[in-house]
Amino acid sequence: MDGPQILIIDDDEQLCKFLDQCVSSWGMTAQIIRNPLLVADEIQKNFYNLILLDVFMPDINGMDLLPRIAELSPASKVVIMTGYPDKEIAIKALRVGAVDFLEKPFTVHLFSHVVKRVLDTQRVELGYKRVHEELQRSQEELVSRTLQLETLNGKLTATNASLLAEIAERRQAEEDLRHSQTRLLNLAMHLQDRQEEERQHIAREFHDEMGQGLTILKMDVAWLAKRLRTLPQAWQDRLAAMTTQIDGLVRTVRRISTALRPEILDDLGLTAAIEWQLEEVKQRTSLAYTLLLPTQEVVVEPMCATAVFRIFQEALTNVLRHAEATAVTVRVTQDPEALLLEVVDNGKGISPDRLANGTALGLLNMRERAQLWDGDVAIQGEQGVGTTVTVRMPCGFSGMKGTS
């Protein structure tokens, strides 16, 4: 039932029928109740837009029903119907919740007017109420959305903060890493220095003590030899052999202590030390050499010179051990940027997999030493032709040659 629902409460049967017909003719439906005691239940069961109430009925005063109706169905509009022209009753009714009154007898015209007016008012009220409710809903939604946005914003701020914290952490970790690397480098350099120092110390002590002892021994043997000239030749030969043995030991002592720490490096500089080393190797192994030096004297800071010399020794050792070469060419050049050392042999050429094997100790050593000084070592091999080791060291210049 779409149209407005009207409830007619009156004990006058004829009137009710009449009113019902009017209402029906307008396309509305009406319900009739003649017993006021049934009203409460009825209006709880069904909703009525308009309730027409007779205030004078037996058993119950219609006026008493008004508050009850207002309580049970506050949205229903009540129009009372009175029998006498009693303004008092009308005003009282309006005060208790009725919206209008009809004095019996009333015309159809008046009836229609009142009904329509009440229903229109109701419609407007309803419309207004709906708009108000919608507005409120919108407002609530707005508040809810705002709250959501704030929560989201809060989350974003928190995420942002934690991201910034993470970035800071990463930066710190990077810096710590850099520090560690620097300290590692420093440690490596320090260890190299210590190593050289220790070698120097051992070399010196070994050399000096052995040297003294052997000198004395030699002197004594010479003294004996002089006094024992009358001895059989065999005995004299033995003494001569002792002298030779001692000389050999002296040479050995010198060789070992120099190998530990070549003084010539400190005294005469890098190029002299390289030449000395090549000469010494040639005496031992017959490896021929060509040494190419620049016309201008090579000037290198002492500690760097030691590093270059050690790398050179390593390279030379490799030639002797693996290259199966007969000759080696060593070239030293120096430009304002760096010192260049080239060791080229005519051996079988280093194999690619030996080169790739990063853990081959000799190669690793050379590279590590070079790295400590920001230098680098490059190795190239050609099968059957030879191997070239190129060392590049940005050695600082001190203007002094091999000072201690």
Binding site: L214, T215, K218, M219, D267
Partner: protein
């Protein structure tokens, strides 16, 4: 004529060895010895020697310091350095400080000749060192 030699070295056996070598010659005799630089300086005031054989590494004053003192105080007294060190740098420094000669201990067979040469006013350097020092 006897050449009087003063031997300064902290190794007693070495001093003995030099004595024995000298005794085997006609002209060389060791008549004084010391084991520290201080003793050298103290005894040298007697001025009773023709040549000093001085070890470069002695406890206390270094051989070079003693050498310097000797050449300053007794300019006409020749000093022959005797050392285990065959580093050219030591020899160069010794000559600079006024030494008449530098002999390495592994060339001890040259000792007699070196002493004679230096005592007679000449200079001496171990053959092994000669090329390094451009002498």
């Amino acid at each position: 004529m006897t050449i009087r030699i003063f031997v300064a070295d902290d190794h007693a056996e070495l001093r003995e060895g030099v004595k024995r070598i000298a005794e085997d010659t006609e002209d060389l005799r060791v008549t004084g010895e010391a084991s520290t630089g201080q003793e050298v300086v103290e005894q040298m005031v007697n001025q009773a020697w023709d040549v000093v054989l001085l070890d470069i590494t002695m406890p206390g004053q270094s051989g070079l310091e003693v050498l310097h003192h000797l050449t300053q105080t007794y300019p006409s007294l020749p000093v022959l350095m005797f050392s285990v060190h065959s580093e050219p740098r030591y020899a160069a420094q010794a000559f600079k400080a006024g030494a008449a000669g530098y002999l390495t201990k592994d060339s001890s067979e040259e000792l007699v000749g070196a002493l004679r040469q230096v005592a007679q006013g000449g200079r001496y350097v171990s053959s092994a060192l000669a090329e390094y020092l451009d002498l």
